[in-house]
Structures are given as C-alpha cells and as structure tokens.
Symmetry: C2
Subunit: 331 residues, 2 copies
C-alpha cells in the first residue's frame, strides 16, 4: 500500500522533472552557432532521471529556501553531468546512452569534445545566474565537484590497465567519479538558500553516501538489469573488463579455478559475449551480488543517518523516500 | 635606441614571466592521480609567452591594485588557455605545439580529452582563490570568455567545411576564439582589484582589440615566419585549407585563374606541401600580406585608443609597449 506521503513525493518529483525537462529544452534554444548548441541540446534533451537537479531543489527546500528560485542552479548540475557523460562516452567508446546514439556516434569526435566543453561552460553560466547568496561557497563546491569528477574518471581509466585494484581504491574512485557531484548538488541548494552550517553538512554527506550507493547499484544493474528498461547492453562492464564493485569483490573472494577465471578477464581486458552467463553464475556462486546489495544498503544507511540531522524535521522524509526509490530502481 | 622606459617594461615582463612559470610549475605539484596531473603539468610547463597572465597583472596594476595579490587569477587564465590548446590540437590533429609533441600525440586521445577538462576545472579553482572582491563579476567574465572560446572554436570548425566565409564572419569568429579570452584577462585584473567602471571598459576593449590583432598576426606568421622561431611548420594553415584572414582576403580580391586557384584549395580541403611557395607568391601578388599588416595596425590602434582612456595616465604606456611588441613578434 502506498502511503499518501509517498504519493506526495512522487507527485513532487514528477512535477519538478517535467519543469526541469522543459527548462533544459529552453536553456540553449536559439543560441548560435547551431553547430555547437544543437548537439548540446541533443544530449540535454535525451530523457534522464534528473536526480541531480532534484537534489539541488530538495536541498534548498530542506534549509527553508524557496526552491523555485534555484532552477538555474538545478539546470547547471544537469549540464555538468551531461558534460561528463559526453566525454566519458568518447573515452569508453560507447555506442548508446539512455537508448540513444552517443554524441560522438551521432555526430563525430570533434563535435563531441567541443559539446562537452560548452556544456561545462554553460553550466557555470547558469549557476552564476542563481548565485546571489554565498556565490563564493557555491562556486567552490561546484568547482570541487568538477575537479573530482575528472580525477575519478582518470582513476577509472587507470584501473582498466592495472592488474589489481583494492576495494578501498575503488571506493575512492567512485567517491570522486559519481558521489562528488551528488554531494555538490546537495551543497549547492543549501548554500544558495543560505542554509546553516550543520544543515549543509547533513545534506553534503547525504549526497556523498547516496552517490556511492548509486554507483554500486549501477555496477550491480550492469549484470542484473533488464536490457529494455536499462537502455544499455547487459554485462557491458564484464565485456570491457571493467573493475566494478562486483568484479573486485569476486577477485577478493574467488579461489582456485574461479580466481583464475577472473584473472583471465584482466589479462584479456574483458570477456566474450557468450561468456556473460558463466561470469554471472560465478558472481552468484561467490555471493558478490548479495555483497553489492549489502554495500548499497550500508551506504544508503549512512546517507540516512546524515540527513536525519537536518534541523527541519519535516524535510527529512522525502530524502528517505528518494534513497529508497534509488535502491529499488531497475535502470 | 631602446629607451629606459622600454627597458623597464621588458624587465617587468621578464621578471613576471619567470614568476608565472615557477608558479605554474608548482600549481599541480604532488596532486593525484598522477595519470591526470602529469600530462596537465606537461602542457602547462611547456614554454609559452604567458601574455594572458601578464594582462591580468597589468590590468590589476592599471586600476591601482597590488597586482601581486592576483597571481592565482593570472595562472587561471593560462590554465584556461591551455585547456583550449589541448582540445584544439586534438580537433586539428596537430602534432606539434610550441615545438613539443601535442598532448594526444605524447599520450593518447583519452588522456588529452581529460587533461583539457581538468585544466578548465583547475582554472576555476585558482580563480576562486583570488576572488575575494567582485567574485560574481570576475566569474561571469571568466565564464563568458570560456563560452565564447568554445563558440569560436565551433565556428572555426564550421568554416572548414563551408565554401565561403565573409570577412565579417571571420572577425566574429576570432573575436570569440581568441579575443574573448584576452578581454577576460583584462577584465579579471580590473574587477579583482576593484577598478572603476570606466577603467574596466577601457581595459576590456584593449584586450578585445589586441586579441583580434594578435590572431590576424598569427594568421600572417603562418606564412611569413621562420620555422625554427615559430616552432610550427610554415604554411600549415594552407596545407589544411584553413580560412584565415589572408585566405579570405585573397579569395575576395583574386580574379580569373588566381581565384580558381584559391577555390581549388577549398574544394581539395588544402594544398600540397610543394604548392606553398606558389600560394605565398599569390598572397604577395594580391597584396593580402600588406592587407593583414594594415588590419593588425588598425585593430592595434583601436586597442590603444581604448587604453588611452585609463584614468591613471602613468599606467598607459606599458600597454602601448605590449601592443607594439606583439606587432613585431615573429612567433
């Protein structure tokens, strides 16, 4: 049975997602040159969950701000996120993103590089429109997020060519690659709406731990998701020999022939399509799918412990609902 | 005979260039991951004229500020400039930059994309260190510069595939691609040192017009420079069929067989190495080398007219010296 509270949160999310989509669509409208802004609009308009803008708005609201004053800041984090997607897709040589052709496949390499660049630039432009209060703090948080996303992406790339990566190194990597921007979203809303330090801290850690949980969930979905809903091919991480949470955990736990099988993935820089079921079975046998689920729960719990410290207790529940929805997501 | 004043300006520039080089070298020192920051240091440490940081410092000084308080802002524009160089070199498939291997040649494509990204991010980080006064204005100027640089690069790429580009379109392109960042440098120094509006305007226009003159000079040097001093191959723009100031002017002025020869460059997307002397001779015959020199002088004059409006008359002369040096440069 769905409670009235949850219905209210879902309705809030749906309403805001539509507004954000509309504003994103309008954001680059009529800007020239079209050779630059049309590809940027292509990626911005492809459907996304818009979780990062939502975090900005919810955080502003959580500290007592009128969240409707911060849509430009909300758009800015989505733009920054899309900048990272465009460049990451080039580096990963990915063909599809959210079920659509990636930018470098639809256009070409040069267009994709430059489109990424303009998205980062325009992200700052939009953030500055809403930075009337605590501009310095907000821009520092935004920039720190951007720096860490680049560092995380670099570590991720570095891990591809390394023979061993510890779980601790992996967590540092996803903290930067994924969680830093989620943390920034929460901080931004709180700074711009002039929140108190304790509330900023509570939101910041919520964003960080939620981001870590989100990335492990992403690693998990790569092997457990339904292809149609996921919008990407299943087992892609294994095909590319990516050192995901599951892979690193499996390598830690496996012995004998199983261990050799995982070491082969590293040596061969990936597996073949027809080997996916075998490795999925190995993951299950070793219990790393359950381990991933536990880790997701554990980081989510840390996020909730942090958000429970918010001074306005009425604003806490929606963050619980959001974390809960993310754990249950299938794409 | 070199006057004492000029000796003083040269000494100032030399002193500051060394300080800037040293600070650039230290700026990313010990930052991890090395897989990201070593390539970034490689490009930052390759010798450059450091004109953009110099403009920041001179502008702060011109409005009465203690320019030594703004080295981080000075570094930030050099970082942003290097971000554009790294990505542009990928797009142009260039092998050499300042006589060294370009980043994607020394490392690889993915490293070069990400190195460009981190340079832009770190540029904001350094600017924020010095943005205690007029942070909003300074960051808006910086971001506007970044947006326009991307727009200019997109136009430049677009022009490559177009059969005709007007001189007006070309000027708009270089205003964005080159002059916008020079303008930003001058504005930054003036904003951060809390300059008066009229002084900011005088400096801003100086930067803009100097930037336009600088780019036309760059186009000119491509065909008239000495290879060793220039650090790049001569006639590279012609080899690639780039629509430079000289090329557009030549196409405007040429008739009959000459015009057909230039149209052939467009159709073939460039010329062969052994055709460079022929096209150089055509440029001379049509007088476009002189036209470029006149245009450089004319835009430089606009820059000087603007800087003459500075309220502190003692600060004007060094900007004249700088413009004069740029006109006379051979690399």
């Amino acid at each position: 049975m769905i409670s009235n509270e949850i219905k209210k949160y879902v309705a809030f999310y749906e309403t805001e997602r539509i507004i954000i989509d509309k504003k994103l669509k309008a954001s680059l409208n009529k800007r020239k040159p079209f050779s630059l802004y049309n590809p940027a609009a292509y990626i911005l308009e492809s459907s996304g969950k818009r979780l990062r803008p939502l975090l900005v708005l919810l955080s502003a609201k959580a500290v007592g701000g009128n969240y409707k004053k911060f849509y430009n800041a909300a758009l800015s984090v989505e733009m920054l996120h899309n900048f990272t997607l465009v460049h990451d897709d080039i580096m990963d040589n990915a063909d599809l993103r959210r079920g659509n052709l990636t930018l470098h496949k639809k256009y070409n390499l040069n267009t994709a590089i430059l489109t990424g660049d303009i998205l980062a630039a325009v992200a700052y432009e939009f953030l500055l429109k809403d930075s009337k209060v605590n501009a310095q703090k907000a821009l520092e948080s935004f920039t720190k997020g951007l720096v860490e996303v680049c560092e995380g992406q670099s570590l991720d790339t570095e891990f591809e060519t390394r023979t061993s990566v510890s779980m601790q190194e992996y967590i540092v990597m996803i903290e930067k690659k994924t969680a830093a921007l989620a943390r920034t979203c929460c901080e931004l809303g709180a700074y711009l709406a002039n929140g108190k330090n304790e509330d900023i801290k509570a939101l910041s850690n919520y964003g960080k731990y939620l981001g870590i949980a989100f990335q492990i969930q992403d690693d998990l979905l790569d092997i457990t998701a339904d292809k149609v809903e996921f919008g990407k091919r299943i087992g892609g991480d294994l095909l590319e020999g990516k050192k995901t949470y599951l892979f690193i955990k499996a390598l830690e736990k496996a012995k004998g022939k199983d261990k050799a099988d995982f070491e082969k993935v590293i040596a061969n820089k990936g597996i073949k399509e027809n080997e996916i079921p075998k490795y999925r079975a190995l993951y299950e046998k070793l219990g790393v799918i359950d381990d991933a689920r536990s880790a997701i729960k554990s980081y989510t719990k840390k996020a909730l412990t942090s958000i429970n410290k918010l001074s306005n207790k009425n604003e806490i529940e929606i963050f619980h609902w959001l974390a809960d929805s993310l754990i249950k997501r299938n794409k």
